[in-house]
């Protein structure tokens, strides 16, 4: 972790690095975790992202951003990519890219949407869909260093089948409270009917504003707009709400 906080030469930080796929994990019907080996990877903070660059044989190239899903772990980094049916990049990453193949990657990028283990205030994580990815890096980092900071997670997802990291989140993490919200269909006998996140979800599953938690909100633009707006309305100070918007609203 220390590596990420020491200032690094810019030329080094911005270099495109070859990243070789070493493992592919099926998370859901449409999401895959891709583990890359990145020689020279300098380490990262939980919440940061990378830029991925793909180049076709005719030289055409395009880039997308993906959050780092893993806690810092040497030269290995994990991304979790949700396939968008009409997407240019995500279907390639989830379906085409095979173990041993190369992409280019640079980073880590972003110094704002991060959780540092030095932070002592309670933490609220609010994720919609693939917006869970950088929040999971925070949960994994907390676990990796046996940090005791109280965390609460609110995870909104379409249906149980779309849930990421299900088995891992089922494990007990002392001091991490989890609340799942389903927008289309719920598990059987689920007390809360399906629906989008509400103020009452955020006050029941979150922290009272006077605990002064830092809130991390991540997901599609629509989700982030709604959830961050509700947190402000509940009395959370806008300066303590950090957001990461993944893209257009669904």
């Amino acid at each position: 972790m220390a590596g990420a906080t020491v200032p690094r030469r810019l030329g080094e930080r911005l270099r495109w690095r070859a990243a070789r796929l070493t493992e592919r994990v099926t998370e859901t019907g449409t999401a895959r975790t891709l583990v890359f080996d990145v020689p020279g990877w300098p380490g990262h903070l939980a919440g940061q992202h990378v830029d991925v660059r793909l180049t076709a044989e005719d030289g055409y190239s395009t880039q997308r951003s993906y959050s780092l899903a893993s806690a810092p772990d040497g030269e290995s980094v994990a991304l979790t990519v949700q396939r968008l049916e009409d997407g240019e990049v995500s279907p390639y990453l989830t379906d085409e890219l095979a173990v041993g193949d190369l992409v280019e990657l640079r980073g880590p990028v972003g110094g704002w949407f991060v959780w540092r283990t030095e932070q002592k205030e309670p933490i609220l994580l609010v994720g919609g869909g693939s917006g869970l990815v950088p929040l999971m890096a925070m949960i994994r980092t907390r676990r990796a260093v046996s940090d005791r900071t109280p965390f609460r997670l609110l995870y909104s997802v379409r249906s149980p089948d779309d849930q990421l990291y299900t088995a891992e989140l089922r494990r007990d993490d002392p001091g991490l409270d989890k609340t799942y919200l389903y927008t289309r269909s719920t598990p059987e006998h689920w007390p809360r009917p399906p629906g989008h996140v509400t103020a009452s979800d955020l006050s029941t599953g979150g922290w009272p504003p006077d605990f002064e938690p830092t809130c991390y909100v991540c997901g599609s633009t629509g989700f982030v707009e709604t959830a961050a707006g509700l947190l402000v309305a509940l009395g959370h100070h806008p300066g303590r709400i950090r957001t990461e918007r993944f893209g257009p609203s669904a």
């Binding site: 930080r13 076709a56 990028v109 110094g111 707009e225 707006g229 893209g247």
Partner: protein, 199 residues
């Protein structure tokens, strides 16, 4: 030499060559912000230009709407990789707002409600390159997209087009804004892919 990704073809190329390197075209209008959308009330809204000597020039909402407006149609390029072509805006040119301002400054720091800031050279705000926009696509500007008014400076990456704008500080020396402090580029030219400091 970039590494070829086996089996990657990409979408059909844009024949108009309007796409800066690394970008892709979207028809949606994605949003990039650092926190919640601030509520800005029109009766309290004010736009202020402050010079290096401390002189102030300010307009309230009524005065602002009374200024001559323009309706630029421009392409937008966001550092998060999307580009959007032919967007229609209405707003006041910075040439109008800066016309009577006496200054020796070379740099600008743009300030927003909600405390966002971003920096650029002052020369990039003049000569028909930048507007304070209050309508998008024929409608009042949504708060989510920066309403009531935002800076529109389409020749730079879109984070420079500060949402919920409330003023511009003119400076003799460059001061970094919000994203620039976190390592994003001081200038941000999409055609030279100036995403991060050092690019």
């Amino acid at each position: 030499m970039p590494i070829i990704s086996r089996g990657f073809h990409g979408r059909a190329r844009d024949p108009r060559h309007r796409l800066p390197p690394g970008q892709y075209e979207t028809n949606g209008f994605p949003v990039l912000s650092t926190g919640p959308t601030p509520a800005v009330h029109l009766d309290q809204w004010e736009f202020t230009i402050r010079t290096e000597t401390g002189a102030r020039h300010s307009w309230d909402w009524t005065q602002f709407l009374a200024l001559p407006d323009e309706t630029p149609t421009v392409d937008l390029h966001c550092v998060t990789k999307w580009s959007k072509f032919d967007t229609d805006w209405q707003g006041v040119s910075l040439d109008v707002l800066l016309e009577d301002v006496e200054t020796n400054a070379d740099y600008a720091l743009v300030r927003s409600y909600g405390d966002y800031t971003t920096n650029m050279p002052l020369e990039d705000l003049v000569d028909g390159q930048a507007w304070i926009a209050y309508r998008y696509d024929g409608e009042e500007l949504d708060p989510e997209h920066g309403g009531p008014a935002r800076l529109l400076i389409p020749h730079l990456y879109f984070w420079k087009s500060a949402k919920w704008v409330r003023g511009i500080q003119l400076l003799m020396e460059e001061e970094r804004g919000f994203w620039e402090t976190y390592g994003y580029h001081d200038y941000g030219d999409p055609w030279r892919e100036q995403r991060y400091q050092g690019d």
